[in-house]
């Protein structure tokens, strides 16, 4: 009985682990960077993103400074990795839109602020926290979400999101 019980616990733990790795992933990130207009600056961001092992490919629209980052499967990246790397290149994030599975945002560190949870295969979410939107946008958002218990705490470990599709 005891052995069976332990086996179940192990199985349960493994299931959770696998579920966590397969569900927490981000498939794609669309980053709009701010504060730059030169292709050498864009290239700095490009090289910084490509240095990440989890990155499969980076496509750049130089005219809008938008970087579409395709990520490898089963990665466990958090939105903060994009912020850190854009800032390392010397710039900032103006908007970050992620393509994720519905399960990903159903739990921590994501907090749904706007839009409804959907059961589509892939959903688009925008991260609304400070450092993931322009300063002007953030000021507006903090007024709109002043009733949120967590949004204005600026806790860097959680991510407030809006479902776009």
């Amino acid at each position: 009985m005891k052995i069976v019980h332990k086996k179940y616990i192990l199985l349960f733990a493994l299931t959770i682990m696998f579920a966590a790795t397969s569900q927490a992933q981000i498939a794609k990130a669309e980053i709009q960077a701010t504060g730059l207009t030169c292709s050498m600056c864009s290239n700095a961001i490009n090289k910084q993103l490509k240095s990440l092992a989890e990155v499969e490919n980076v496509e750049i629209d130089l005219n809008t400074n938008t970087f579409t980052v395709t990520l490898k499967e089963n990665n466990s990246l958090k939105p903060s990795v994009f912020k850190e790397n854009v800032e390392k290149a010397g710039f900032f994030i103006g908007s970050l839109i992620l393509t994720v599975k519905p399960e990903t945002i159903a739990k921590e560190p994501y907090i749904l602020l706007d839009g409804k949870e959907k059961q589509a295969n892939e959903i688009l979410i925008q991260v609304l926290d400070k450092g993931y939107v322009t300063n002007k946008t953030f000021k507006k958002l903090s007024k709109s979400y002043k009733n949120s218990l967590t949004f204005n705490n600026n806790d860097e470990t959680d991510f407030h999101i809006k479902v776009l599709n």
Binding site: T34, C38, S39, Q48, N63, N65, F91, T134
Partner: protein
């Protein structure tokens, strides 16, 4: 001449797509973290007191430690005394302490300090720790990018020491100065980006001035620059430096620059 320079400045300011990778006046932005940039700045300046040209070679290495802090080391080689000899070096640290970025625009502030050593004889009242004097310089840079037009300005304090080991700074010269710069930059080509491989052409104009604090002697120079960027990684700058006004003794104020620049990204894995 002055008319053309004015026209050049107006031209750059009107069309509002800008760059801030200036040749002589560093912007408030730094090189990317964990990148290493190497460049060789060559110059040929017409001698005022004797005939001929003074050639200079300045190799530089720039490293971005993190997003806010960068370091640079420079060496000075010139034929001031007829043979090409290494005369000194400079260390620079620049810290970006304020950034207000928006889509296609930013306002940034940085503080910098540099220290130089030099062994050359001192022939001029102008204080120039980038190649002529031992000494230090410390100051603040503000760079604004408005709708893609880059404007950058610096104010700094510069002090000269005796040149090591036995060329002392003349007693009758003022040994400290206030420096000021104002720079404008514009992207001429391409009008629309298609890829990172595209060659970019930038036009810039930089103004550099100095006032010796003790006696008020001053100069003001203008430096128009044409810049080519290849493969979003390499740079070639061609520039001409011209004295607009001066009330001090300078050994070689007018000349040309050629700068080659290359960036290595993600140097430490």
């Amino acid at each position: 001449m002055k008319k053309y320079l004015l026209l050049f400045t107006v031209l750059i300011c009107q069309k509002s797509i800008g760059q801030e990778l200036f040749l002589l006046t560093d912007p408030a932005s730094n090189v990317p973290a964990n990148s290493l940039a190497v460049n060789i700045l060559q110059s040929a300046f017409e001698r005022e007191m004797t005939s001929g040209y003074m050639y200079g070679i300045m190799p530089e290495v720039t490293y971005g430690l993190n997003r806010n802090l960068m370091f640079r080391a420079s060496a000075f080689v010139s034929n001031r005394n007829n043979e090409m000899v290494a005369e000194g070096g400079n260390f620079l640290a620049k810290y970006r302490f304020y950034s207000q970025d928006d889509l296609n625009s930013h306002f940034r502030l940085a503080a910098f300090g540099r220290y130089s050593f030099n062994n050359a004889p001192i022939h001029q009242e102008q204080i120039e720790i980038m190649g002529q004097n031992s000494g230090f310089e410390t100051g603040i840079v503000a760079t604004k990018l408005i709708k893609k037009l880059a404007i950058s300005s610096t104010i700094s304090f510069e002090k000269a020491f005796d040149n090591t080991p036995n060329n002392s700074f003349p007693d009758n010269f003022g040994n400290n100065a206030t420096n000021y710069t104002l720079s404008f930059g514009k992207l001429m080509y391409p009008k629309k980006y298609t890829s990172l491989k595209q060659t970019n052409i930038n036009l810039m104009v930089e103004f550099i001035g100095q006032t010796i604090n003790e006696n008020g002697k001053s100069y003001l120079d203008v430096i128009p620059v044409v810049q080519f960027i290849f493969n979003s990684q390499a740079r070639l700058d061609l520039a001409y430096r011209r004295e607009i006004m001066s009330s001090m003794v300078r050994s070689a104020p007018n000349g040309v620059y050629l700068n080659l620049y290359y960036t290595f990204f993600n140097v430490v894995k």
